[in-house]
């Protein structure tokens, strides 16, 4: 058989196995290696809530999808070109994601009667999944790994753990990946602590690569050329890490210490963990006794003059509601990050959704407005967190930043910015020797001045009770209504300080696709695909939800129809219907704990023409 190397624009690879098989690591290494090679990429970890679900069952399947390309990549891809299935359950859970032309690599050692039974197969798994027409590469990966390492001196259990490296080696062959990066990684990871593991892992990796080269089953390999990227220094970053770093950047620009009070919760914990590492930048992290203590310690820290942050996910946001009201009432700067997950209640903790928007906008007692914004990509979380902090501080208001599990865990290459290109953040500290009244406002922003304990002569009291401008408790009806309006107006005026809404595509037309948050990449791909088919469609994506960008009305008014796409039952579209009722809105919604597929959006666009 003649071996061919086929140049291809992009490929999607999905690594799937038991949650203990190391699939997240395998996928990440493949992604990192591709990034360094110069490809564009996007990743999507899709893992179960259980740390080690029952071995070999469908519920325990952990997946990691990576989309690499020689052109701009905005999504982890709908369907895959290669599925690596380390056991029958992985095949069962993921066969639906196969392209018609896909290859499937399976570890035949795990496809025994017991393995098939655990996955719920009754007969031939290939036939049961109706994938006979795909290229199935059957390799006894477990046996080959043992064979490869029989003289390594490692015990059986340790050898077993190396089979993901064998698989990775095979994938490297199929996609012509240079393996040096992985060698360096293995040296970094094991070099000092477990040097005996470096050489065996390298050997398995190379043996996997050579095995793939020698068997006849793989007719062609693929080459994905480096993308034409802007020059500069790059790194991979996931959304939670980017959020943490954006907050650190804001603290530096504001010259304030960073305080984060949080309680561990999936999928937000990564932010707290990341901040806990960076004490050298002055970050104080407090792992609180509960979600309420998380936000309340942060509110205390804000009162004491820190850049205060609390991070959580949906159920935690519910618990924080009352304290969020306190932050609104005391008009203290506070950043609340909600990494949304599938709800309600505990829901599906590891799966992504946009179902907290209503809670973000309306989930508090009383008239309780705060700035609500969203991040639109993993690396975009950096700027989103930075801007959230800047607004919170300069406008003396809590800001709720919505990200999503899809963003928090997903990663992409990032052209590393320089802090000199970021704006200063100027806390509205009270001037010394000016009589201080806590709720006297800046005429432009309506922000109050910030007097921090320790400043002589500015002693004052804040709290949850309604007050007048002088900070004296008041239940006067007119005063209350005035303060309610001022707090709302203060949030609305943030619109004067945020970027206008951008339109991708023609500024006037029949159909405008609208989205917010982490669906950006999928929506952009879909709109571009539809336009390539000659469809008249444009796209506008919202990073700011409350307040809306100032030109929102103008942008929406230029289109006959507006199609709002979100991973919920229609929170944003209903919000728009309330704020700008003069336009005709269509909606496309999905609530499956999964990101959109580009093809679903394209279909929705066609239906709404």
């Amino acid at each position: 058989m003649q071996h061919k190397v086929i140049d291809t624009k992009d490929v999607v690879i999905r690594f799937a196995g038991d949650s203990g098989d190391g699939m997240q690591l395998t996928g990440s290494l493949f992604a990192d290696m591709s990034a360094i090679f110069g490809n564009e990429l996007s990743t999507f970890p899709d893992y179960p809530a259980e740390i080690r679900a029952p071995h070999g069952t469908v519920s325990g399947v952990s997946g990691f999808q990576v989309h690499i390309g020689s052109e701009h990549i905005t999504t982890p891809g709908d369907f895959c070109d290669l599925l690596v299935a380390m056991n029958p359950a992985a095949l069962k859970a993921n066969a639906k994601w196969l392209k018609r032309t896909a290859m499937v690599l399976i570890d035949s050692d795990t496809f025994d009667d017991a393995g098939l039974a655990r996955a719920g197969f009754e007969g031939d798994p290939i036939a049961e999944m109706h994938i006979e027409d795909r290229t199935i590469i059957v390799a006894p990966i477990t046996t080959l790994t043992h064979e490869s390492l029989k003289d390594s001196g490692l015990d059986k259990k340790t050898i077993e753990k190396c089979k993901n490296m064998f698989t990775l080696g095979m994938a490297c062959y199929i996609y012509n990946r240079p393996m040096e990066y992985i060698f360096q990684y293995l040296e970094r990871k094991f070099g000092k602590k477990k040097p005996q593991l470096v050489e065996p892992n390298k050997k398995v990796l190379k043996d996997g690569f050579n095995y793939a080269a020698n068997i006849q089953a793989i007719a062609n390999t693929y080459s994905i050329e480096p993308a034409d990227q802007p020059k500069g220094l790059y790194r991979n970053i996931n959304g939670n890490q980017a959020t943490a770093w954006g907050l650190l950047a804001a603290a530096e620009k504001a010259n304030l210490p960073l305080f984060c009070g949080s309680y561990p919760i999936t999928p937000a914990t990564g932010i707290l963990e990341e901040l806990a590492i960076h004490k050298s930048l002055g970050a104080k992290t407090l792992q609180a006794e509960d979600e309420i203590a998380g936000i309340c310690t942060a509110i205390g820290a804000a009162f004491a003059g820190n850049l205060a942050v609390t991070t959580t996910s949906g159920p935690g946001l519910s618990l924080k509601s009352e304290a969020m009201g306190l932050a609104v009432m005391t008009e203290l700067p506070l950043v609340i990050v909600d990494v949304q997950r599938a709800g309600p209640s505990t829901g599906i903790p590891t799966k992504t959704e946009q179902t907290d928007l209503n809670q973000a906008l309306y989930g508090r007692n009383g008239e309780c407005p705060m700035v609500v914004m969203a991040a639109h990509s993993p690396a975009g979380c950096f700027d989103a967190a930075f801007n959230a902090a800047k607004i919170a501080i300069e406008h003396m208001t809590p800001v709720l930043l919505l990200t999503e599990g899809f963003l928090g865990n997903g990663s992409e290459p990032w052209l590393i910015p320089s802090m000199k290109d970021y704006p200063k953040i100027v806390p509205p500290f009270v001037q010394p020797n000016v009589p201080y009244k806590p709720f006297h406002r800046d005429p432009e922003t309506l922000a109050r001045k910030w007097a921090v304990p320790g400043m002589a002569g500015c002693e004052h009291r804040v709290g949850g009770l309604e007050k007048n401008h002088d900070g004296v408790i008041s239940s006067d009806p007119q005063n209350h209504e005035m303060m309610v309006r001022e707090r709302m107006e203060k949030v609305q005026r943030v619109a004067n300080y945020i970027p206008e809404l951008q339109v991708n595509g023609p500024e006037k037309g029949k159909l405008l696709v609208v989205g917010w948050g982490g669906t950006y990449g999928h929506l952009l791909s879909a709109v571009q695909e539809a336009r390539a088919e000659g469809i008249d469609v444009s796209f506008a994506h919202f990073d700011y939800i409350l307040p809306l960008p100032k030109n929102t009305e103008e942008v929406l008014g230029n289109f006959d129809r507006i199609l709002v796409c979100e991973l919920n039952s229609g929170h944003f579209v209903n919000y728009l219907r309330g704020v700008l009722p003069q336009y005709k809105y269509e909606q496309f919604n999905k609530v499956q704990g999964q990101p959109f597929l580009v093809q679903e959006i394209v279909a929705a666009i066609k239906e709404n023409l």
């Binding site: 309340c296 910015p417 921090v452 320790g454 002569g457 004052h460 949850g464």
Partner: protein, 339 residues
């Protein structure tokens, strides 16, 4: 350093507690204690922050001319913790009630104590929800009649002292609302204590739970039914100073000096600084009529504080780390150049 008087600590706000409310006594004690604290520790007035939750006692910050935060029900301890960790140079005082600190805020309360955050918590214990007009609280005695327990409660109360000591508290003291001088004295010691100080003040709610502490607090019986513990002094009490506490097997016992061959030498000497919590627990648990109720500082021991720990760790990591600014951070770890 100016010498303050209680006047500087009084705000211009009208005090709105009911006439005869025990909270007046605590406020007066605090306003009298803070000038002494300020002098003893060399503080400025602007470094005080007084935090509260919700309830009658939580109005206290408005009556103090200091920085103040009147927060939400139960959360004062979490807010105090945040303030102190964010800026350890501040001196944080907290006013909270038995419902506020021990029911809705119980979790924050025990965890601040466990962490030993250097804050001073005044726990106003009137054994009732006053601001909501008379429901039983977690410290109401078993069987207490209230609006939500018209036939008597069927639940056991917390003893704040044993809760604090059980949570590894480093400072616990108890006073009465009417013992102004003792309360002020305790406050000064609490301020000097580096760590979480809890001062329980047994307060009287004249409207909804009048006389809750009457059995021990009435002037005529107080000397016989309470004992004021002072570190290094013998545990002697009574109008005639003839009663004392002795160790009897694994427990405590009240004895009369001069009876059954008991002399002053047999009486226990109070050691508030003892690491061993056993005897402090027994003292905090003493109940009338078997025992006098212990007032004064029951426990005052040294331990590392959370806020110092956080600050020191930041300084330590900063001194060692290669990452000194965000630009360093962004370029740390695995990166690659596109040329």
């Amino acid at each position: 350093m100016p010498r303050y008087t209680f006047k500087e600590f009084k705000s211009d706000q009208e005090v709105r507690w009911c006439p005869g409310c025990g909270d007046h006594g605590v406020l007066a004690a605090l306003q009298r204690a803070l000038p002494d604290v300020t002098e003893a520790l060399g503080y400025n007035k602007e470094r005080y922050v007084i935090v509260s939750g919700i309830g009658c006692s939580s109005r206290l910050p408005y009556y103090m001319n200091t920085y103040g935060f009147h927060s939400i029900h139960g959360r004062a301890t979490a807010i105090s913790t945040g303030i102190k960790v964010a800026n350890p140079d501040l001196t944080v005082w907290q006013a909270c009630g038995d419902g506020d600190a021990l029911a809705i805020g119980g979790n924050h309360f025990i965890h601040a104590i466990r962490r030993n955050v250097d804050i001073n918590i005044i726990l106003f214990n009137n054994q009732i929800y006053g601001l909501t007009k008379g429901q039983y609280s977690p410290t109401s005695r078993f069987g207490a009649i209230s609006k939500t327990s018209p036939y008597g409660t069927v639940e056991h109360p917390f003893n704040p002292g044993s809760l604090v000591l059980g949570a590894k508290g480093t400072f616990f003291a108890r006073s009465l609302d009417s013992e102004l001088k003792l309360t002020s004295e305790i406050m000064l010691s609490a301020a000097k204590h580096d760590g979480c100080s809890v001062m329980e003040v047994l307060t009287n709610c004249v409207i909804f739970n009048d006389g809750a502490h009457k059995l021990i607090a009435d002037r005529e019986v107080r000397a016989d039914r309470t004992i004021i513990l002072r570190h290094g002094e013998k545990m002697i009490f009574g109008k005639n100073r003839d009663k004392g506490i002795v160790l009897d097997g694994m427990g405590l016992r009240v004895v009369t000096i001069g009876e059954n061959g008991i002399t002053e030498d047999d009486i226990l000497v109070h050691d508030a600084h003892s690491e061993n919590v056993g005897i402090h627990m027994m003292l905090a648990d003493m109940k009338y009529p078997e025992f006098p109720v212990a007032l004064g500082i029951i426990r005052d021991v040294k331990d590392v504080t959370y806020d110092d720990g956080v600050r020191d760790q930041v300084a330590e990591v900063k001194a060692k780390s290669k990452i000194q600014c965000v630009d360093d951070l962004l370029r740390s770890g695995s990166t690659w150049e596109v040329k």
